[in-house]
Amino acid sequence: MSGDAMGSDKQSGLVQGTLDMLILKTLALEPMHGYGIGVRLDQISKGVFQVNAGSLFPAFRRLERDGLIKAEWRATENNRRAKYYALTPQGRARLARAAKDWETQTAAISRIMRASLGEI
């Protein structure tokens, strides 16, 4: 059933399974609440990734249960209550690993995409 939630990311063009990594990366910069994370993803990707609540919140729940992020209710800058998420040490380690894998994979993929007959 959780597969259905991932499917809705298609329209935002997100590669399957990368949402978790992006959230971790966003939280590595500073602790943030749900809305902020969505806005930040939108900003940094220059509007390419617009992640809706239906995908965002299941991802938070998943990451929290896996012990990669932890949550805390705090006041926002305009004095409202919001649930702030922050990376745990495990989350930091997972992010480092995921980033490394991502680098390797994308580098390999772009090499393949650029390849011409002469290079082989």
Partner: protein
């Protein structure tokens, strides 16, 4: 582990978690609205836009909830409650299904409990998997437990360099008489080595267990006993001061030193000891000083505990290397023993795994009980078909509900899950009630295994295996009867129910499936009926086996003269005097004594004989059964005298040695040569001892021996008065402490007769002990197993027949109800009554015929697995294969006739008005 804990936390703190999620999503929504306001939208616009970007809040919540496994558990729990509600709404269906399942699963679990107790359970001792029974190749081939003499045991036990430890106990069931004298009170006894309890790791509940020095033969210190928990409760009411009390065992006083724990029944599965005595007490208690001698009986079973990490093969190889040494050390030089010694040397050691103990019951019953379990499983399958039918009908009636739910967005997987959960709930309730039935049923079954001779005790309490079996049964049945309704439910078209009249469509397929179920049910019932027919016919064949004697109005009195005043040498004389006294008892027409009686479950005396000038025969065919009898024995048993004469007063200790031979003996040794007057030599007498050939003076009809399944063996009878002529007579080997007195009454063996007999016996010899048994009961006990198997299979076949009839009835009724309108129209148009009846039952009869065809084929293929249980008939016995289908067709016709008649009485106008 982490997802599990997180799930658990989520389940427990569900309320708080929900609140949290609500708050968070609201905060998200508000933040979006604020953002939109900041971008210059009006309030309403901002809210609408926010709602659009956030999407369906409820769907998002669902997605969040679905992250963990606990959400699935929740939906399962929801389905369970839904199922329970649904079942409560149709109590008739629920009661019928649960009752059927409880019965089916209960019977199967009861049988499995017995299989578990008999075949699978390990002994309740320390590290049972290390235990092996010391046996020989020959004993294993013949399927008998190996017995060892005390000197042999003494040799083996010392070799703890080869194994970790050894224990010994009496291999034959021992009955201890607790009475002072007169009529015996038997309990189950056991002789054990001194280290028996310690080596097995069985700690006493009270007092102590036995000590190694108490094993020394004949020492007074050995007159101590460990009693079982059951005996302690039964005899002493669980008295706390039982240790130190005295008991009379075979009139020898012994002191109770301890009580064994309740779970320990002894080394043999199926039997439980009441009193365990050290082997050292055996010579006194059995008044038999041949213990400890190399020519004593091979009386001890020996179990070894393998060294850690050493396999049975390695151990047996080491033991085989020592075999000759053991035999010579325990028997002395070979010249003394001749062929017997060589035979001992040839028959080398073998080991049998003994984690589950040893068991005569297992040898006798494991095949029958597994066959009965297979039959019971078939009954359960048939029951499942019935429930599947009921379920199917129910699912069909819920067509509307299901299609509506599909239309409003339920997933098919969810619907299928719901139907399966419903069947699981049903079968789980059935299995739970079945377990109760099984606890009671398995005890009943064990009780019915007991005969006058064997008190069968088997631990059939619930353990993880039985519970797992019941759970597996319940899951399997749920799948069997739930899968089709589930498939059916998943095929319903969404919203189909809303189209007028379509409720009726799509049922033809369902009806075909139900027809298939009926055919399968009929086929399985037929296999069962054939199997039951074969087993019942086997029993009736066995019951018809000519015994060779007449068991009516006959009492067998087993007397023990070991404490009698007259010495061992005078016992044949004593027995003759007892017989003379019994003939004088009013109401007695015949009385006679013999060492053995037929079908008495006791030991049989054998000898290797030759007839000089007779038919040359191989050595292994020389063994015959020998019995010593007084004059009048043949008359008392009603054995037919064919030629010559029976024994009479002329045959005394000093007269010419004579024998009476049986038909089978004459057949084998003399063929058609004249029997009366021929001489017979005992092979054992021949080389060195008093070789006096015996003259055949008469020939009598055959008498069955211990088992009715075997042909009567060649038998010779020798006058008891000439017993002292036996080469071993008078030696401890042949001191005949016991004999059987057979009394035939004029009019039924009444209690009064027993009293008269007891008085007459005590008058002659006050120190005699004795027990009574009706000969007819002994004959019954010899057929016990076959009777039980026939009875159980018959019962299950009847159950199958009833289930099949109910199934057929149900399907036909359904068909008739479904076609009510059609029938009404046909009748209105002038169809005849028999046309209508034919219409209603044609399909069912066709399915029944298909089932019978399949069933006959299947029965033909599987009945050969019953071969070992059959007697006197072939696995393809024509009568069984004809009677079973006939009976089934008859029952099927009857089951169809009732609903068909109802169809024929349909009032056309009524039927049409209904629509």
């Amino acid at each position: 582990m982490r997802p599990f804990l997180a799930g658990l936390r989520a389940l427990l703190g569900r309320h708080r978690l929900e609140q949290d999620l609500d708050d968070e999503l609201n905060a998200y929504l508000e933040a979006t609205v604020e953002q939109n306001l900041a971008a210059g939208m009006s309030h309403d616009e901002a809210v609408r836009a926010a709602r659009l970007t956030v999407g369906n809040i409820e769907a998002a919540k669902d997605a969040v909830r679905d992250v963990g496994w606990e959400s699935r558990l929740e939906s399962l729990w929801h389905d369970v409650r839904h199922a329970l509600r649904g079942l409560r709404r149709s109590p008739g269906f629920t009661a019928a299904a649960i009752l059927t399942l409880a019965l089916g699963i209960g019977i199967n679990t009861a049988l499995f409990s017995v299989v578990n107790g008999l075949l699978l359970r390990t002994l309740p001792v320390t590290a049972p998997e290390e235990l092996v029974v010391l046996s020989t190749r020959g004993a294993i081939e013949q399927g008998f437990p190996a017995g060892w003499t005390y000197p042999m045991w003494d040799q083996v036990r010392k070799r703890t360099d080869i194994f970790n430890g050894a224990i010994a106990w009496s291999v034959f069931p021992e009955r201890f008489d607790l009475a002072q004298g007169g009529e015996s009170q038997f309990v189950d006894g056991l002789f054990v080595g001194g280290n028996f309890f310690d080596e097995l790791g069985v700690a006493p509940l009270l007092g102590r267990t036995l000590r190694v020095d108490e094993e020394i033969l004949g020492s007074v210190r050995s007159h101590v006993a460990v009693i079982s928990y059951g005996f302690w409760q039964r005899r002493f009411g669980g008295a706390a001061d039982v240790v130190g009390r005295s008991l009379l065992v075979n009139r020898v006083p012994v002191t109770i030193v301890g009580v064994s724990p309740p779970e320990f029944f002894g080394p043999e599965v199926g039997r439980a000891f009441d009193i365990a005595l050290p082997v050292g007490a055996a010579p006194d208690v059995l008044s038999d000083n041949r213990w400890g001698r190399p020519d004593g009986f091979s009386y001890l079973a020996v179990m070894l505990r393998l060294k850690h990490g050493q396999s049975g093969e390695e151990t047996v190889a080491l033991l085989r290397g020592l075999h000759r040494q053991f035999v010579e050390a325990s028997m002395g030089p070979g010249e003394l023993w001749g062929p017997n010694h060589d035979a001992q040397l040839r028959d080398t050691f073998a080991l049998l795994p003994a984690a589950t103990g040893t068991s005569e019951l297992r040898r006798n019953y494991s095949q029958s009980i597994v066959a009965i379990l297979a039959i019971a499983m078939l009954v359960l399958l048939i029951a499942c078909a019935n429930i599947a039918n009921l379920f199917q009908a129910r699912a069909a009636s819920r067509h509307l509900e299901i299609s509506t739910r599909l239309a409003i967005g339920a997933s098919r997987a969810r619907i299928v899950q719901q139907v399966l959960v419903e069947s699981l709930v049903l079968s789980a309730i059935g299995a739970a009630s079945g377990l109760l039935l099984a606890v009671w049923g398995s005890r009943l079954l064990v009780a019915s295994l007991s005969t006058w001779f064997d008190r069968v005790v088997l631990d059939v309490s619930l353990d993880w295996r039985v519970l797992a079996f019941a759970a597996a049964m319940s899951a399997a049945t749920a799948l069997l009867f739930g899968i089709m309704p589930a498939i059916f439910a998943s095929r319903v078209a969404p919203g189909a129910a809303m189209k007028v009249g379509s409720v009726r469509s799509g049922r033809a397929g369902v009806f075909r499936v139900r027809g298939g179920l009926i055919a399968a049910q009929v086929a399985m019932s037929l296999v069962l009926l054939v199997a039951a027919g074969l087993l019942i016919r086997s029993f009736s064949e066995l019951a018809a086996v000519p015994l060779g004697f007449d068991s009516d109005r006959t009492l067998v009195v087993r007397v023990n003269a070991s404490r009698a005043m007259s010495g061992p040498g005078n016992r044949p004389d004593l027995y003759q005097r007892l017989v003379d006294a019994l003939v004088a008892v009013p109401g007695v027409t015949h009385a006679a004594a013999s060492l053995n009686t037929p079908v008495n479950r006791g030991a049989t005396l054998v000898a290797d004989l030759t007839v000089p000038g007779g038919v040359p025969i191989a050595q292994h065919d020389q063994r015959v059964v020998v019995n010593y009898v007084t004059p009048g024995w043949f008359e008392a048993y009603g054995v037919v005298l064919r030629q010559g004469r029976a024994f009479d007063g002329r045959d005394s200790a000093r007269s010419m040695p004579v024998i009476v031979a049986s038909d089978a003996f004459v057949q084998r040794f003399l063929s058609d040569r004249p029997a009366v007057g021929s001489l017979v030599s005992d092979m054992l007498d021949a080389p060195s001892r008093r070789d006096v050939p015996k003259t055949i003076v008469g020939v009598v009809g055959d008498v069955v021996d211990q088992s009715l399944r075997n042909k009567p063996p060649p038998t010779v009878y020798i006058p008891l008065a000439q017993f002292m002529q036996h080469p071993f007579a008078g030696t401890p080997f042949m001191s005949v402490p016991e004999a059987s007195l057979t009394v035939r009454a004029a009019t039924g063996a009444t209690p009064q007769l027993g009293r008269g007999v007891a008085a007459a016996l005590t008058a002659i010899e006050p120190n005699l002990s004795f027990s009574f048994q009706l000969l007819a009961d002994q004959v019954d006990a010899a057929r016990h197993q076959e009777r039980l198997v026939a009875w159980l299979s018959g019962l299950f076949a009847l159950l199958a027949l009833v289930l099949a009839a109910v199934g057929l009835y149900g399907v036909t009724s359904y068909a008739v109800a479904r076609r009510r309108t059609e029938i009404g129209i046909r009748m209105a148009l002038g169809a005849q009554r028999h046309d209508v009846v034919g219409l209603a039952i044609r399909n069912t009869i066709f399915m029944t015929m298909c089932g019978i065809f399949v069933g006959l084929t299947a029965a033909g293929a599987v009945t050969r697995y019953l071969q070992a249980l059959l007697f006197g008939i072939s696995p393809l016995d024509l009568i069984s294969f004809l009677a079973a289908p006939l009976l089934l067709v008859l029952v099927a016709l009857l089951a169809c006739y009732v609903p068909a008649r109802r169809a024929a009485t349909v009032d056309p106008m009524n039927a049409l008005r209904c629509e």
